[in-house]
C-alpha cells in the first residue's frame, strides 16, 4: 500500500532523513518509533505530500506523491503533530469544512460526520467552539479530521500525546477498531503504545532506520539473555562466588539487603541456567526465596537500538 524507497530529506546542510526505505502492506499497522528529532515527522510530512523530498520516492497505492499528488492525498488521512484546527469554528463547522475540502460528496457529508463524531466520542461536543475544548478533545477533533473522507491510509503523528491515561486507552481502542479496514502508520515515542497496537515496528534514529521487525521478534533478539532477579538468604560473597562458577553466567551482583540475611541479586546469563542455580544454592544450603525473570520491554529494545545504533536484523 505504501512504498518508501531511498527517501532523503535535507534542510539546507542538515540531513533529517537519510536514505530510508520501508513498505507497509494493506491493512497493516506500522509503528514508527524514534526519539525526538529522529525524522519521524519529516517522513510523515513527506508521505502526506506536505513537504517534498530531496531524493527518493514515496508511492501510495501505486501513485507517486510527486507526480500524482491529488490521487495520493485523496487516499490519506493525516493527523499531524499539532492538530490543524481552526479555533474560531465549532466542531461541526470544522468537520463540514474539512469534508468539503476533501471533496466528500455533499449527500454523504452529514452521515459521515455523525459517524466519525460517534466513533471518536465527540457527539456531545459538536456545537462547541474548538477554542474552548480541552487538549484531549482537540486531539479527538484532529483524529476526526483525519477520518473524514474515509481514507484507506491513516498517518497519525503521535496521536495520544497530551491525553490523560483514560483518553489514551480510548484513542487506542479507536485506532485498533479503525485498523480493521485501513492501513495505518502511527508514530510515537511512547513505547508500550506501539507494542500494544502495532503489528510491525520501524525504529528510526538520526534519520536512518535502526531496526525493523515485529514487536515480538525485536524483544526476542534481546531476550537471548536471561535476566533474573533473585532473593537468596545467606552470605553474599559465598553465593556470588558459587553462582559465578556456573557456565554461562554473564553478570551477578547483589543489589539490596532484604531482611536479616537475605540479599537481592541481579543475574544475567547467556542461556537458561535456572536449574543450575537452584541446585548450586541447595548444595551450599542457601535457600532461594524468590526468583523473578526480568522481561525485556520495548524500552530496553529501543534504548539498546538507539544508543548502540546497531542493526538488529
Amino acid at each position: 500500500m505504501i512504498e518508501i524507497l531511498n527517501l532523503t530529506k535535507k534542510y539546507g546542510q542538515v540531513v533529517a532523513v537519510n536514505n530510508i526505505s520501508f513498505s507497509v502492506k494493506k491493512g497493516e499497522i506500522l509503528g514508527f518509533l524514534g526519539p525526538n528529532g529522529a525524522g519521524k515527522s519529516t517522513t510523515m510530512n513527506i508521505i502526506t505530500g506536505y513537504l517534498p523530498s530531496t531524493a527518493g520516492t514515496v508511492k501510495v497505492d501505486g501513485y507517486d506523491i510527486l507526480t500524482h499528488p491529488e490521487e495520493v492525498k485523496k487516499r490519506i488521512g493525516y493527523l499531524p503533530e499539532a492538530p490543524p484546527l481552526y479555533k474560531d469554528m465549532t466542531v461541526t463547522e470544522y468537520l463540514n469544512f474539512v469534508s468539503s475540502l476533501k471533496k466528500v460528496p455533499k449527500k454523504q457529508q452529514k452521515g459521515q460526520i455523525a459517524d466519525i463524531m460517534e466513533l471518536v466520542g465527540l457527539s456531545d461536543h459538536r456545537r462547541r467552539l474548538i477554542d474552548n475544548l480541552s487538549k484531549g478533545y482537540r486531539q479527538r477533533v484532529g483524529l476526526a479530521q483525519a477520518l473524514v473522507g474515509n481514507p484507506e491510509v491513516l498517518i497519525l503523528d503521535e496521536p495520544t500525546v497530551g491525553l490523560d491515561p483514560k483518553q489514551i486507552i480510548e484513542i487506542r481502542r479507536v485506532i485498533k477498531a479503525l485498523s480493521q479496514e485501513r492501513t495505518i502508520i502511527l508514530s510515537s515515542h511512547i513505547l508500550p503504545e506501539v507494542s500494544a497496537i502495532c503489528e510491525r515496528i520501524v525504529i528510526i534514529n538520526k534519520g536512518v532506520i535502526a531496526a525493523e521487525d515485529t514487536p515480538q521478534r525485536l524483544s526476542d533478539d534481546i531476550n537471548q539473555f536471561l535476566k533474573l532477579t533473585l532473593l537468596i538468604a545467606g552470605e553474599k560473597d559465598i553465593i556470588v562466588n558459587s553462582i559465578k562458577t556456573i557456565d554461562g553466567v554473564k553478570y551477578i551482583e547483589p543489589s539490596a539487603k532484604v531482611g536479616e540475611k537475605a540479599y537481592k541479586y541481579v543475574l544475567e546469563a547467556k542461556k537458561d541456567i535456572r536449574n543450575e542455580v537452584f541446585f548450586k544454592m541447595a548444595e551450599i544450603k542457601c535457600p532461594i526465596l524468590e526468583s523473578k525473570p526480568t522481561t525485556v520491554t520495548l524500552e530496553d529494545i529501543f534504548i539498546s537500538v538507539v544508543t548502540k545504533g546497531t542493526e538488529v536484523s
Binding site: G12, P84, L101
Partner: protein, 234 residues
C-alpha cells in the same frame, strides 16, 4: 476554492476584524463627505479618489491573516495535504478578502445615493470610477495576500503590504513632480496613477487590462512563493 473562501468569510465576521474595517472605512468617507454635503457640491467622484487612498490603510488589515495565520496555527498542513490545489487555496483566500471589500464598496454607495436624494445624478463617470475602484481593490488585496505568504507573523505581513502600498502612492506623487522619462515610468508602474485615470472619468481599456493582469500576476507569484518555500526549507 469556494470552501476556503466560505470559511474565511465566516472567520472575518466571527472576529471583530471585518466590522472594524467597515466601520473605519465609513468613518473616513464620512469625514471627507461632510464638508461636501455642507457646501452642497455633488461631485462624489473626488471622494472616490480619496477612497483609493483609504484602501492603503485598510487592505493590510484585511489581508494580513490570510496565509500567515494558517502557517502559524499549522492549519496549512490540512490545506496542503487535502486534494485541493495551492492555486485554489490562494484564490479562495483572495475571494474571501475581496468579498469583504465588496461589502465595503456596497456600503459606500450610500453617499452617492444621498447626493441623488438631493437632486444629484449617478453619472456614467461615477460608474466608471466605481469600476476603477473595484479593480484597484483587487490589485491591492493581491499585494496584501502576497505579503501574508511571506511571513507567519500577521503584524509583519500587514507592515509589508502597507509599505508596498505606500511606495505605490509615493511613486504616483513623485511621478508628477519628477516628470520626464522617470516620471513616465513611475506613472506606468503606479497602480494609483492607473486608478486616477478612472476617477477623471475616462474608461481606459489599457488601465482595466493593466489592473486585472497585475492582480493575476501577484496571485500567481504568491502560489510560486509558497511552492518555493516548501522546496527550500519545508
Amino acid at each position: 476554492m469556494w470552501t476556503v473562501a466560505k470559511r474565511e468569510i465566516g472567520s472575518y465576521f466571527k472576529s471583530p476584524i471585518a466590522f472594524v474595517i467597515i466601520g473605519l472605512f465609513i468613518l473616513l468617507i464620512s469625514i471627507f463627505f461632510w464638508p461636501k454635503l455642507q457646501a452642497s457640491r455633488g461631485d462624489f467622484i473626488d471622494i472616490l479618489g480619496d477612497m483609493g487612498f483609504f484602501l492603503i490603510f485598510i487592505t493590510p488589515i484585511l489581508t494580513m491573516k490570510m496565509l500567515a495565520e494558517d502557517r502559524k496555527n499549522g492549519t496549512e498542513v490540512l490545506l496542503m495535504t487535502s486534494p485541493t490545489s495551492l492555486t485554489q487555496i490562494v484564490l479562495g483566500k483572495f475571494i474571501a478578502s475581496y468579498t469583504v471589500f465588496l461589502v465595503i464598496s456596497g456600503i459606500s454607495l450610500i453617499y452617492p445615493l444621498i447626493i441623488m436624494a438631493f437632486g444629484g445624478a449617478f453619472t456614467t463617470q461615477l460608474m466608471g470610477g466605481y469600476l476603477g475602484f473595484l479593480l484597484l481593490g483587487g490589485a491591492f488585496i493581491s499585494i496584501g495576500i502576497l505579503a501574508s505568504a511571506v511571513t507567519e507573523n500577521q503584524i509583519i505581513a500587514a507592515i509589508i503590504s502597507f509599505v508596498a502600498l505606500i511606495v505605490m502612492w509615493v511613486a504616483h506623487t513623485l511621478a508628477s513632480t519628477v516628470g520626464g522619462v522617470v516620471g513616465t515610468i513611475l506613472n506606468w508602474i503606479s497602480l494609483i496613477s492607473r486608478y486616477q485615470v478612472f476617477t477623471k472619468g475616462i474608461l481606459g481599456f489599457a488601465e482595466i487590462v493593466y489592473l486585472l493582469s497585475f492582480t493575476a500576476l501577484i496571485l500567481f507569484l504568491t502560489v510560486r512563493l509558497i511552492e518555493r518555500r516548501r522546496w527550500i526549507q519545508g
